[in-house]
């Protein structure tokens, strides 16, 4: 049985009669907060928690631990849960449950992560806005939409603004679709980390430090591979990196369109990638992050990106003002004061033990089928001493990855 919990029906009715805009709630609306907490505690599988239009202030993070619950607002600009005065955190909403759907509402100014879904399968996030309203700041919460250790995940038609780490961050998960979202003024717009089988498409990432990232970090439960990044717009991601040092994305240079770090089987195609001032695409290894050390990194961690296939993208501009002294010096040395990096920048780390005739095994190579696009091998292992713009090594193809199929498909 599908049970609808209609919540604060009266204000909804009032709003419908008298105002077009949402009724303003007083700061720290205790009765609202207690009611919502109670609804989350009482939820049963099949419960739908409707939150009517309104701007609600909450003091404490919310949590949900029941399978099969839907949380619904009246729209991402109409139902706003503001955590500006949050005294207990760390998340805005923490979910530890399966078959969870959240849609059509906004979470603003959480002290830590906005929406964290930790362990669970069949997760739908739709039409959710997460925003830190004071613009990009190191003191903003880390992650906006943050499913981690989840299976069968859909994130669509959502907006994330101002995360001090990643706006949309899917970590240690399997079978993922991230589509039609907008990520702006985050350090990382959209990040897929240590995840397997992800499709990231039709998103817009702009004004982040890095637009779309596919990363693998050490010491975690699974290594990520098989991500397709396609039909996205990633442009003008030139916001200074405002992550705290030590955060995974703190090493991302300002002005990065798409970044692959230490991940495998990544396909980047049919995207519009433009005006990202370090480079439109960066391929790098964990060595370039400065975190690699033998004591703290699992011995079986593979820091090299492998099997990267870039084709049929539309590149424009970018590469003209790389971040950091080292990259600036490199750009001037190779391309002159007024020159620019090519669209693809590779740090040049390669697993030398695996080379066959100077090239990685066929399935591990970087293959580029993208017209006359330029590539710079920055020669990171030798401190950028011997950079190369020769593109011969990338003239190959890789088998294309199959599309991700969500099973079961989320309910519309």
């Amino acid at each position: 049985m599908r049970k609808t919990l209609l919540f604060l029906a009266l204000p909804l009715a009032l709003a419908a009669c008298s105002h077009e805009e949402a009724p303003a709630q007083s700061s720290g609306d205790v009765s609202f907060e207690a009611k919502l907490q109670q609804q989350l505690l009482d939820a049963k599988p099949g419960s739908v928690i409707d939150i009517p239009a309104g701007h609600y202030h909450l003091q404490r993070g919310l949590s949900l631990r029941t399978d099969g619950v839907t949380i619904k607002g009246a729209g991402m600009d109409k139902t706003v849960l503001s955590f500006k005065g949050q005294v207990v955190g760390p998340e805005g909403l923490l979910v530890n449950a399966n078959d969870f759907t959240i849609e059509n509402l906004a979470l603003e100014d959480t002290k830590g992560d906005a929406l964290k879904i930790n362990q669970g399968k069949n997760i739908t996030i739709r039409g959710v806005r997460v925003e830190w309203t004071g613009g990009p700041k190191t003191t903003n919460g880390a992650y906006g939409l943050y499913p981690v250790k989840t299976q069968n995940v859909l994130v669509e038609d959502s907006v994330v603004i101002g995360a001090s780490d990643a706006g949309i961050y899917v970590g240690q998960s399997n079978n993922i679709v991230v589509r039609r979202n907008r990520a702006e003024y985050n350090v990382a717009g959209i990040e897929i980390e240590n995840s397997v089988n992800a499709d990231v498409y039709e998103n817009t990432a702009t004004n982040n430090t890095g637009g779309i990232l596919v990363f693998n970090m050490p010491n975690l439960s699974q290594a990520g591979h098989s991500t397709r990044v396609f039909k996205n717009k990633s442009f003008g991601n030139n916001t200074d990196n405002f992550a705290a040092k030590g955060a995974a994305v703190a090493s991302v240079p300002r002005g990065a369109g798409v970044v692959v770090n230490s991940n495998d089987k990544v396909e980047i195609f049919d995207n519009d990638i433009a005006d990202n001032q370090t480079a439109n695409v960066i391929i790098s290894s964990y060595f370039s992050t400065n975190y690699y050390n033998t004591k703290g990194v699992a011995a079986d961690y593979n820091p090299y990106p492998k099997g990267i296939f870039i084709y049929d993208n539309r590149f424009k501009g970018g590469g003209d003002s790389p971040d950091g002294m080292k990259l600036k010096t490199l750009k001037t040395a190779v391309f002159g004061l007024t020159g620019k990096f090519p669209d693809i920048l590779w740090d040049g780390y390669v697993d030398e033990k695996k080379l066959v005739d100077g090239l990685p095994p066929a399935e591990d190579r970087f293959c580029i089928q993208n017209g006359d696009v330029g590539v710079l091998n920055a020669d990171g292992p030798h401190d950028y001493k011997n950079p190369s713009t020769d593109t011969k090594a990338y003239q190959c193809t890789l088998p294309k990855l199959p599309p991700v199929v969500l099973d079961p498909e989320p309910k519309a």
Binding site: A34, Q37, Q38, L40, L41, R60, G61, S63, L64, R65, Q86, V87, V88, G89, P90, N96, T110, K111, G112, D113, N118, Q119, T138, T139, G141, A142, Y143, Y146, V148, K149, S164, D165, Y169, G171, Q172, M217, P218, N219, L220, S221, A243, A244, K245, G246, A247, A248, A250, F287, T289, N290, Y291, Y292, N293, T294, K295, G296, V297, A298, P381, D383
Partner: protein
């Protein structure tokens, strides 16, 4: 007629038992959430004292969780004829019907307001164990953990200001208090009673099964002496003696965590006990924090799993501009003490259960990191 006389006799016997303390027998509640703490008849207010009912056994932990300097009165009760089964590592296997209670309270300051509470480790005036003298303490909350057929349930109660009873508070509470130390230094803070769901954040140590369990009643935490009404005795031995525990070895053969504050104990043992109880319920291979690759329970080896030179995964700004969880020899460059030293909800660790900094705990962890050698060298 015969039946009736039996019934009367039984009722009188029950009354006699209960009369010992003027309390009805402990009421195991097989389901639901009684509105008042006193409905359980585990602890109750009698003549200005919070007293324990018949069969309710108090206990303490070698190293307890830090909770904003709150003092705690912990008790366990089991139905007649039932007992918990000993386990050397995990929470004892308690029978259905077990009721565990934990009452959080503070000693009051001399002549202070009711909301002024003492920042002290001295519990000698609390009369903990035999009961609490309400003239000397400010009761905050009592959490009930009850073992039902369906599993353990956590039910929070918040004490009324007149200290007559505690009321069901499923959604928790925020209680403004002021900590006052022995030099009259004052620190305002919000004591936060977790909601039912947040109870599970710590007590569900496996985030896939999501089943909750008590944390404290494990061999390594209980292997210590307690000052019972009948005299000092090892808690494991006492539980065996009263019939609440079976299968425990002699205390010398059982594991024992150090007392974090015992300066005669090895620094390493004190720290590992501290990390175990404050962090290990989430930072274990199955817990909520298993997404981080950082494990802090007492069994983890001293390597990257414990955070040595380990880059953080999802700490966000919780890194405090530091690269690694623990940099041997460099506490000021390490993330662990940085997060312990914060009260910002987006930065602090543990993330629930405290609103103040445990200064002595931070000092302990810093001393431990300072005593390590080696540093962390990044490889390019």
């Amino acid at each position: 007629m015969k039946f009736l006389s039996h019934f009367l006799l039984l009722s009188m016997l029950l009354l006699l038992c209960a009369c010992q303390r003027g309390m009805d027998p402990v009421a195991f509640q097989a389901d639901g959430r009684p509105p008042k703490l006193s409905d359980w008849h585990v602890v109750e207010v009698r003549s200005g004292k919070l007293v324990l009912n018949e069969g309710v056994v108090p206990y303490d932990l070698n190293t307890p969780l830090f909770t904003d300097y709150a003092h705690k009165l912990r008790t366990v009760w089991m139905p007649k004829g039932t007992a918990a089964k000993y386990d050397p590592t995990d929470t004892f296997d308690f029978p259905v019907g077990t009721v565990i209670s934990k009452t959080f309270y503070y000693p009051r300051t001399a002549d202070g307001k009711f909301t002024d509470v003492a920042r002290t480790y001295d519990s000698s005036k609390d009369f903990a164990g035999e009961g609490l003298d309400l003239a000397h303490v400010h009761l905050i909350e009592t959490r009930i953990l009850v073992h039902r057929e369906s599993g353990w349930a956590a039910i929070p109660y918040v004490w009324k200001d007149d200290q007559s009873d505690a009321m069901l508070a499923r959604t928790g509470a925020v209680i403004p208090l002021t900590l006052v130390d022995d030099k009259s230094e004052r620190e305002d803070f919000n004591y936060v009673v977790p909601d039912e769901s947040q109870c599970a954040s710590c007590h569900a140590q496996d985030w896939v099964s999501r089943k909750i369990h008590p944390i404290g009643p494990k061999a390594r935490h209980l292997n210590r002496d307690y000052h019972y009404a009948t005299g000092d005795e090892n808690e494991l031995a006492h539980l065996m003696k009263v019939g609440y525990l079976t299968g425990a070895p002699a205390p010398a053969e059982a594991p024992r965590n150090a007392n974090w504050a015992d300066e005669h104990a090895p620094l390493d043992a004190r720290v590992r006990a501290y990390l175990d109880i404050n962090c290990g319920h989430c930072h274990n291979p199955k817990g909520a924090a298993n997404t981080t690759g950082l494990t802090l329970d007492v069994s983890v080896p001293e390597d990257r799993h414990l955070g040595i030179c380990k880059p953080p995964v999802a700490a966000g700004r919780g890194t405090g501009d530091h690269l690694f969880d623990i940099v041997p020899g460099q506490p000021e460059d390490s993330i662990l003490p940085y997060r312990m030293n914060s009260t910002d909800p987006g930065t602090m660790m543990p993330e629930l259960g405290r609103s103040t900094v445990h200064r002595e705990g931070v000092a302990l962890i810093k001393a431990w990191i300072a005593a390590q050698s080696g540093g962390c060298v990044a490889i390019h």
